[in-house]
Structures are given as structure tokens and as C-alpha cells.
């Protein structure tokens, strides 16, 4: 690790000010990606601004028919939240399947989506459930939040405050995990929102994306049979040691059918 200045502000305003004043500042949330990156000397920010002491940034609460998850809420706290489990069990189950116990007890939802790893689980929930991301400046629609490989709509210095997930009529998340890291080789969130079906795919491409053809097919008939022959084109999908682009394209169909079957079974 290289040297850096450590800040632990008590308010969002102080965090934003510290970030703006830093020469090359970096926000620290749960640190599950950032700290290993710093230890490997793959980044050397001048200042780290730790959001861990800011009151009101963590916790899960109900807001009408929606669940609002504070940006600094740990995955384990979403997984065990009675509100999340009753209103959106698919969200709690997704959080329960992220990484390993250390990642789930340190990693946060805000850190995960700000990092926008193409194989992370939460992006599938943000897009698949039609969430909105609230920052210290504005509200960003989940569909507009992820803009590319590790890229988001966040501006320089913008800090995520919470994520609001409207409760769907039914939903489920299915993933084919990398057995070592538990990152999604392919993960699919399927949600019947009441005003349409959303299918969001993570792990397969350079960013989370929606599978429009499957959404249309499921809109008429919410069953695994409706997407029996559906898949996505393999063009541009990720390829690595674990899975070719063609294999990932195939897995998208398999995971989508598993998610639909699980959601339909309730």
C-alpha cells in the first residue's frame, strides 16, 4: 500500500468537501474491492474519505410499497432484514449470495454499485427491480445508472445516499457463480412488477443489461416455457478462462428460466 491521507467525516457535506479538496480523492465504503486494490498497489489515491461515520447512511427501511437501502448497508444486513425479506425476498436472497461472509459483513450496496463491476450481483437488482439511486445531488433511474465497464452515471465527487427498490409482484434472482469468488459468471434477475416484466443480466456483458425479447415473451406468459428457446446473442459478451461468450449466452437462458420458475412458484 502507498501512503494516503485518511478522512473520516461525520456528515455527507463534510465528505463531499473533503473529496473536492483532495488532489486525487477516493471514497471508501466497505472497502472489499478498494482495499485489496490499494494493497496490490494498483491505485494510489492521495486521500481516502471513509463514509463509515456518517449517520443515516445505513439500514433498510420501508417507504410505502418500496424498500429503501442506505448506501452503507452491509450485504448481510440486507439479507437478514425482515423488511427486505417480506417485501422483496429476491433482494434479500441476492444479498445473501454475494461473495463470502467477510464480503457480506463488510461490503456495502453503495460501494458495489459505485464500483460497477460487470460481474457484481447488485446491478442486476438495481436494473431488474427498476430501482432508483439517490445521491447527495439527485435521483438517478436504475436503468440509467450503469453506463459501461466499471462506469456509472455518477459525476465526479457525487456520493450515493440510498437505493430505493419498488416491491415487485414477484421476482427471483438466479446466478451461476464463479466457485472461488462467487462473482456471477451469469446472474439474472427476473421481476414481474405489475406493470410489465423486467429481466436484467449481470456477469455476461461489460455492464448489466436488460433482455428485451425475454421481457416481451414473459409479459404474455410468465412461465419458464415462454422463454424455452430464448437466448441472447453472444456478440460482445465476456470471455475468460471460466466461460466463453457462447457459454455465457446459453447460461443467460438457463438462469432466466430458473429465476422465472422460482418467482412463479413464489
Amino acid at each position: 500500500m502507498y501512503e494516503f491521507n485518511y478522512h473520516r467525516p461525520g456528515t455527507l457535506e463534510a465528505a463531499a468537501a473533503a473529496l473536492a479538496a483532495a488532489e486525487d480523492g477516493q471514497v471508501l465504503a466497505g472497502g472489499q474491492t478498494l482495499i485489496p486494490t490499494l494493497k496490490q498497489r494498483l491505485a494510489s489515491p492521495s486521500d481516502l474519505i471513509d463514509l463509515g461515520s456518517i449517520a443515516g447512511l445505513d439500514g433498510v427501511r420501508r417507504e410505502g410499497d418500496a424498500i429503501v437501502v442506505g448506501a452503507m448497508t452491509r450485504h448481510a444486513d440486507v439479507a437478514s432484514s425482515p423488511d427486505a425479506r417480506s417485501a422483496i425476498p429476491a433482494l434479500a436472497a441476492l444479498a445473501d449470495g454475494i461473495g463470502d461472509p467477510q464480503v457480506r459483513n463488510c461490503g456495502t450496496i453503495g460501494g458495489s454499485i459505485a464500483n460497477a463491476d460487470p460481474a457484481a450481483d447488485y446491478p442486476a437488482a438495481v436494473v431488474g427491480l427498476g430501482a432508483e439511486v439517490r445521491t447527495d445531488r439527485r435521483t438517478i433511474a436504475g436503468d440509467d445508472f450503469f453506463t459501461g465497464l466499471f462506469e456509472t452515471a455518477l459525476e465526479d465527487g457525487e456520493i450515493i445516499v440510498s437505493v430505493r427498490f419498488p416491491a415487485p409482484r414477484r421476482a427471483a434472482y438466479a446466478k451461476f457463480p464463479n466457485p472461488a469468488s462467487r462473482y456471477a459468471i451469469v446472474g439474472v434477475m427476473v421481476a414481474d412488477t405489475g406493470s410489465g416484466v423486467r429481466v436484467a443480466v449481470t456477469g455476461a456483458g461489460d455492464q448489466v443489461f436488460r433482455a428485451g425479447a425475454m421481457e416481451a415473451a414473459l409479459g404474455g406468459n410468465f412461465s419458464a416455457d415462454a422463454i424455452r428457446d430464448a437466448s441472447v446473442p453472444s456478440d460482445g459478451l465476456n470471455e475468460d478462462l471460466h466461460a466463453s461468450a457462447e457459454y455465457r449466452a446459453h447460461l443467460v437462458g438457463v438462469m432466466a428460466r430458473r429465476a422465472v420458475a422460482a418467482a412463479a412458484a413464489g
Binding site: T33, Q40, L42, A43, S44, L149, F150, N238, D240, L241
Partner: protein, 160 residues
């Protein structure tokens, strides 16, 4: 892994070829390029700040142009050393085909990372390489495409 792409440029082939050998233009197209200078007839040194997710590393990069066959094709290659982060090398075979309204640019690129970035980032190398290739050539098209000429015959109302 081979990465391929195709772009359309609204310029004649000769002009596109020339631009692809111009360090000033290359510098504006290489993502994260901080500076570039010519060190030989067909060699350039560039300082590139590469940023992928949490990783941010400065690469000292030697860029070379070879297999020159103007104005049809050439090979653009680069070799970067990123200190503790590791190193990376890559090359792109670029071909230019004359079209009615300009030039069709096609490329086939290969990337080979090494050291720490290859160890910890193996699952991301394909996506990152694709992004760098697309960013480079789409910026190139943007940089070299001439501005559309101002509309002629329009009275200048500000003079009133």
C-alpha cells in the same frame, strides 16, 4: 483473443493514413494519454494513465508503427510498463478501404497483459481491451472528421 472493429471515416484514405501516423492525433485518441513524443521515425513514447474501475496506473508506453503499406494498411503496436501494476503489450492491424463517401477502417487487435494486472484482473482483460480499442478508434473518428462547413448564404443577424 482477437478483437475486431469497423469504423467509417468521412475522409479520403490518404488523409486517414496520415492521421494514424500523427503523434498529436494519436495522443488525443489514446484513452488516458497524458503526453506523447516522437522518438524515432516510426516510434513514439507516451505517458498513459490507465483507469479501469478501482485500478489506476501510469504506463510508460512505447508505441511503434510497422508493416507500413500506405495508404492501405499498417500495424500499430504498443508496449507499456506500469511499475508495480505490471505491463501490457498489444498490437492492432489496421486496414483502410476506400468507400464512396470516405474510408472504412477495420482493425484486428491483440492484447497481452503481464505481471500483477494479469494475475488479479484476468476476468476483466477481455472487456477492458475491447473498451480501450473501441474508445481509441471512435475518438480517432471524432478527432479527424472535419467539421461540417458553416451553412452558406445565411445572413449574419448579429450585425443588425
Amino acid at each position: 483473443m482477437d478483437l475486431t472493429g469497423e469504423f467509417h471515416v468521412a475522409l479520403p484514405r490518404e488523409a486517414v493514413f496520415e492521421a494514424l501516423n500523427d503523434p498529436e492525433i494519436l495522443g488525443r485518441c489514446i484513452p488516458g494519454c497524458q503526453s506523447i513524443e516522437r522518438v524515432g521515425e516510426h516510434e513514439f513514447d507516451a505517458d498513459v494513465l490507465a483507469r479501469v474501475g478501482p485500478v489506476k496506473a501510469r504506463f510508460k508506453t512505447r508505441i511503434a508503427v510497422s508493416n507500413l503499406n500506405p495508404p492501405e494498411s499498417y500495424t500499430l503496436s504498443g508496449e507499456g510498463r506500469g511499475g508495480a501494476a505490471g505491463f501490457a503489450s498489444g498490437s492492432a492491424d489496421v486496414s483502410l478501404e476506400a468507400a464512396d463517401d470516405g474510408t472504412v477502417l477495420r482493425y484486428t487487435a491483440r492484447v497481452q497483459p503481464g505481471g500483477k494486472i494479469a494475475q488479479v484482473g484476468s476476468r476483466l482483460i477481455g472487456g477492458t481491451a475491447r473498451k480501450i480499442g473501441t474508445d481509441f478508434f471512435s475518438r480517432f473518428v471524432e478527432v479527424v472528421t472535419p467539421e461540417p462547413p458553416p451553412e452558406a448564404g445565411k445572413p449574419d443577424e448579429q450585425e443588425e
